[in-house]
């Protein structure tokens, strides 16, 4: 096992070396290794390209966006978008190190440098902008409510104001904070878990009356739910998903924004969607304009 890996590494190294030696640095390494592109000296892009490695934080438990499946590799729209960025940096897919970034640690892992980029259904908002910076948005979701198919008593967030309906969401997420504005008594109305599939199971078992989070996530459960669930009403917030980077790293943020715009125009953004979350039947719509603040 060990010998094999060493041999493979050596082979890859000679191959890459040989290719760069004869082909120059233009598009040479494609297919086997990365490509060495020219980036401004001292920039994050140059560092990552030189290192031929990038650490990306994503969800491991979010169907359609970032779900670590049985293969041991995460899959989903966020993951595909992150791969587009990595490709633009000249880093091949297999050199990406995926780090699990659940809702509550996303700012932390960016600030302390555990990851270089976070793509994890990450809503752009002002509180978060105090600690980190966002590239994008690359998708605009909105918070919605999922109920059982035959439930007509919940029509929107205002249905929680009378203090009887129970709702489930995920600890530390934006939707959980948002719904708190509507519920009367947190103790008897709100349940928080660490993943949404637990919320779905609670809805299924009748312990809660509704699950609230971004519509695309709910659509995923509705698509897989054997026609048992539906959305109750319209989106009541706008949740633009951005890519989290270090606050002071404006160059890298512009680079990511450029890459997103490029992906909008060359179709890779749409393909990423169609291969993943698009299968749930959510509309992609027009590409949202990136916000270069």
């Amino acid at each position: 096992m060990r010998m094999k890996r060493v041999a493979a590494l050596a082979a890859a190294a000679t191959l890459a070396f040989g290719l760069t030696a004869c082909g120059g640095n233009d598009e040479a390494g494609e297919g086997t290794g990365g490509e060495s592109k020219s980036f401004p000296a001292g920039s994050t892009m140059e560092r990552l390209n030189k290192a031929q490695a990038i650490k990306i934080g994503t969800k491991f438990d979010q169907p359609g966006f970032g779900l670590k499946g049985l293969s041991g590799e995460p899959e989903g729209f966020d993951v595909e978008v992150a791969k587009i960025i990595a490709k633009e940096l000249g880093i091949p897919e297999d050199k990406i190190e995926w780090v699990e970034a659940p809702s509550k640690v996303r700012e932390d892992v960016i600030v302390n440098g555990t990851v270089d980029l976070v793509a994890a259904t990450y809503t752009i908002n002002d509180t978060r902008k105090e600690r980190i910076a966002f590239a994008g948005p690359y998708y605009e979701a909105g918070q919605n409510i999922m109920v059982k198919k035959d439930d007509t008593s919940i029509t929107g967030p205002d249905s929680f104001k009378d203090g009887t309906k129970k709702v489930c969401s995920v600890t530390g997420s934006t939707p959980a904070e948002e719904i708190k504005k509507y519920v009367q008594d947190v103790g008897s109305q709100l349940v928080l878990f660490d993943t949404y599939d637990k919320c779905r199971d609670a809805l299924n078992g009748g312990q809660v009356d509704a699950v609230t989070t971004d519509n695309v996530i709910l659509l995923g459960y509705i698509a897989n739910g054997n026609d048992a669930f539906k959305l109750a009403g319209e989106n009541f917030t706008k949740e633009p998903y951005g890519l989290g980077v270090k606050k002071e790293d404006t160059d890298f943020r512009s680079f990511v924004n450029d890459t997103l715009e490029k992906a909008y125009s060359d179709g890779s953004w749409k393909k990423a969607w169609d291969d993943t979350a698009g299968k749930f039947g959510a509309e992609l719509g027009d590409p949202p304009a990136v916000n270069r603040y």
């Binding site: 670590k68 499946g69 041991g72 302390n112 897989n224």
Partner: protein
């Protein structure tokens, strides 16, 4: 006290009643289980092969993938547990020795030195003793979940960024080393005073006394407790899911995300834990039995550990195993 001293050996009539009673009770339980467990689960479709297939049917397309993932997770669990128990043992021993040394230091009067130096040294040793006492009390009183969470969130706050494995191991070590230190310390303090006096009489320094005389005996007494502590650590690694360490339960969560079969996956993981932990505690019992025999044949003066140690051991082992 062995169980049988509490009651007379049952006679033929008693045995007959027991037999009939057990059969009736078993049937009642089975009927109850059918109506209150099997039926609701079956109606929920919890027994369908769609949910169980990937876990128990080798011909299922996902079978090998699922078990490979569980294997990886369990490997990670074991690794974290072994690292944590090893480092807790080292840190715990050091901490126990430190506390014993500080205790003897605070009793020293530092004669033959200038008065200010004396006061300084005595103050310092008192301060250090109080400080270690404080740390022990705090870390013993905090839930392990909180300790792990604080390590994982707090270290990066001070610019120290490590892997989740390291966070988990540090978190577990902080708690378990304190517990081990307390067992060792009470073990050493519970030894007959003659041991310490004899060591002093042949001219050993306090440090030598601890290292050569007290510590080996305390270790010997606590070896079974140490192994049962391994069970505790193994269970505690399951808290790694809080900081995204990929141990068994976390992997289980990912499998559930794909296959949507939470109850079967948790049953399998639960059985896995019971089997491994049960074997470990059996091992602890075996070691304890051997040690007890060893003491008898070696004919050491203390055939049984002094009451204080026995009490401490009893209390500690339940306390630790109580701490999930």
């Amino acid at each position: 006290m062995s169980q049988s001293v509490l009651y007379d050996v049952p006679g033929p009539r008693q045995r007959r009643i027991t037999l009939i009673g057990s059969i009736v009770a078993t049937i009642a339980v089975l009927i109850g289980a059918y109506f209150f467990v099997y039926r609701p689960l079956d109606e929920n479709g919890q027994f369908s092969m769609e949910l169980w297939g990937p876990l128990i049917d080798p011909s299922n397309e996902n079978f090998s993938l699922v078990w490979e993932r569980i294997g990886i997770g369990f490997g990670n669990t074991l690794m974290a547990a072994v690292l944590a128990i090893a480092s807790s043992l080292v840190v715990g021993t050091l901490l126990a020795v430190l506390r014993i040394q500080l205790k003897s230091l605070t009793a020293r009067r530092f004669t033959g030195m200038a008065a200010p130096v004396t006061y300084l040294l005595r103050g310092l040793s008192l301060f250090l003793a109080a400080l270690t006492r404080f740390c022990v009390e705090v870390f013993r009183g905090l839930p392990v979940v909180i300790t792990i969470f604080f390590v994982a969130r707090g270290f990066p706050e001070f610019g120290i960024s490590l892997s989740t494995l390291t966070y988990l191991v540090i978190g577990l070590t902080i708690y378990n080393s304190v517990v081990i230190a307390e067992i060792l310390r009470s073990g050493m303090e519970g030894l007959p005073g003659g041991q310490r006096e004899a060591a002093a009489a042949i001219g050993l320094s306090p440090l030598q006394t601890t290292g050569l005389i007290l510590l080996p005996q305390a270790f010997r007494i606590m070896l079974p407790a140490l192994i049962s502590q391994l069970v505790v650590v193994l269970k505690d690694t399951s808290l790694g899911f809080i900081i995204s360490y990929e141990e068994t339960l976390n992997i289980g969560k990912q499998i559930i995300g794909v296959l949507n079969n939470p109850i079967p996956v948790y049953i399998v993981i639960g059985v896995l834990f019971i089997v491994v932990n049960y074997s470990l505690s059996k091992l602890a019992q075996y070691v304890q039995g051997r040690l007890a025999r060893g003491r008898k044949t070696a004919d050491t003066p203390t055939a049984a550990p002094p009451p204080a140690i026995a009490a401490a051991l009893g209390a500690q082992s339940t306390a630790q195993s109580g701490a999930s």
